[in-house]
C-alpha cells in the first residue's frame, strides 16, 4: 500500500476576494483594483507592458468584473486579469481601422441583466 505524501496534496485555493469587495479602475492604459472599503490599491496592471499592446499606453480603459476575472479593454485590445492577483489570464487583439471605442457586454440569456461599458 502506497504511503500518501500529504505535501503533494493541494488544498483547494480559497478565494479571498469577491467582486463585491473591490472596485476596478481603468485609466490611462492601466487597471487598478481597489478595496471597496478602504480604497487601498490591491494591484495594478499596465496594459501596454504586454507585447503587441503598446498602443494602449496612456489610453482610456474600459473595465468590468465578471466572477473572478477583471476584464479590461483599450484600443481594441481585451485583457482578462485574475481578480485575486492581477495576473494576466489572456489577451486578445481586436484592433481595427479607425478610432472605435472598446465596449463590453456582460451576461446573456438567462442572466438577470446585461450591462455594457465603453471607453
Amino acid at each position: 500500500m502506497a504511503m500518501t505524501d500529504f505535501r503533494e496534496i493541494e488544498a483547494p485555493r480559497m478565494r479571498v476576494l469577491t467582486a463585491g469587495q473591490v472596485v476596478a479602475v481603468g485609466h490611462a492604459g492601466h487597471v487598478h483594483l481597489l478595496q471597496l472599503e478602504s480604497g487601498n490599491t490591491l494591484w495594478s496592471y499596465a496594459l501596454s507592458g504586454r507585447e503587441g499592446a503598446t498602443a494602449c499606453e496612456g489610453q482610456p480603459v474600459t473595465v468590468g468584473i465578471v466572477g473572478d476575472v477583471v476584464l479590461a479593454g483599450a484600443m481594441g485590445h481585451v485583457f482578462a486579469l485574475d481578480l485575486e492577483t492581477g495576473d494576466l489570464l489572456w489577451h486578445k487583439d481586436h484592433r481595427a481601422r479607425g478610432a472605435g471605442e472598446t465596449t463590453f457586454a456582460f451576461g446573456g440569456p438567462g442572466s438577470d441583466y446585461v450591462s455594457s461599458l465603453a471607453t
Partner: protein, 165 residues
C-alpha cells in the same frame, strides 16, 4: 520705431517659447519621448495600413530623433533671441542697416517654421501617418506653432523704410 520694436519683441517671444520647449523636454524627458516613440513606431495608426514598413521601433533611433528635435528647438530659440536683440539694437539705424540686422531673426524664424512644418507635419504627420492616430497626434499643436513662426517671419521680413512708425 514701433514697427521695428514690435518685430524684435515678437521674435523674442517666439525665441523664448522655443527655448522653453527645448528645456522642458530635457527636464521632463519622458512626457514627449512617449510621443516620439508612438509616432515613430506607428503603433496607433490604422491596423493593416500599407505604410507600416516606415515604422521604426528601435529605441536608440527614438532617442536620437528626440535629441535632434530638442537640439533643433534650442537652436531655433537661440537664433530668435539673438536675432531679436540684434534688431532691437539696430532699431534706430537707417532702414537698410536695420534690414541687414534681421538676418539672424529671419534664420531663426524660418528654422522654427521648418521644424514644426517639416518635422512634425511632413515627417510625423504624413511619413509616419500621425494623422491616422487619435491617441498620439500632434498635428494641431504643430500647426499652431508653424503658423506662429510663419506669420512673424512674414512680418519681420517685410522691408523697413525710414518713414515707418
Amino acid at each position: 520705431m514701433i514697427t521695428r520694436a514690435s518685430k524684435s519683441l515678437l521674435t523674442l517671444s517666439l525665441g523664448i517659447f522655443a527655448l522653453l520647449v527645448g528645456v522642458d523636454n530635457i527636464f521632463d524627458y519622458g512626457t514627449n519621448f512617449a510621443f516620439v516613440q508612438h509616432v515613430l513606431s506607428m503603433d496607433t495608426t490604422f491596423p493593416g495600413n500599407k505604410l507600416m514598413w516606415r515604422a521604426i521601433t528601435s529605441e536608440w533611433v527614438h532617442h536620437a530623433a528626440y535629441a535632434l528635435i530638442i537640439a533643433s528647438e534650442l537652436a531655433v530659440g537661440l537664433l530668435c533671441v539673438a536675432g531679436a536683440w540684434r534688431m532691437f539694437a539696430a532699431k534706430s539705424r537707417p532702414g537698410p542697416q536695420f534690414n541687414r540686422a534681421k538676418a539672424l531673426a529671419i534664420a531663426g524664424l524660418a528654422a522654427g517654421f521648418g521644424l514644426y512644418f517639416f518635422g512634425f507635419l511632413v515627417i510625423g504627420g504624413e511619413w509616419f501617418q500621425m494623422w491616422q492616430s487619435t491617441a498620439w497626434n500632434g498635428q494641431e499643436a504643430a500647426f499652431r506653432f508653424a503658423a506662429s513662426f510663419g506669420l512673424v517671419l512674414i512680418f519681420v521680413a517685410m522691408e523697413d523704410g525710414d518713414g515707418w512708425p
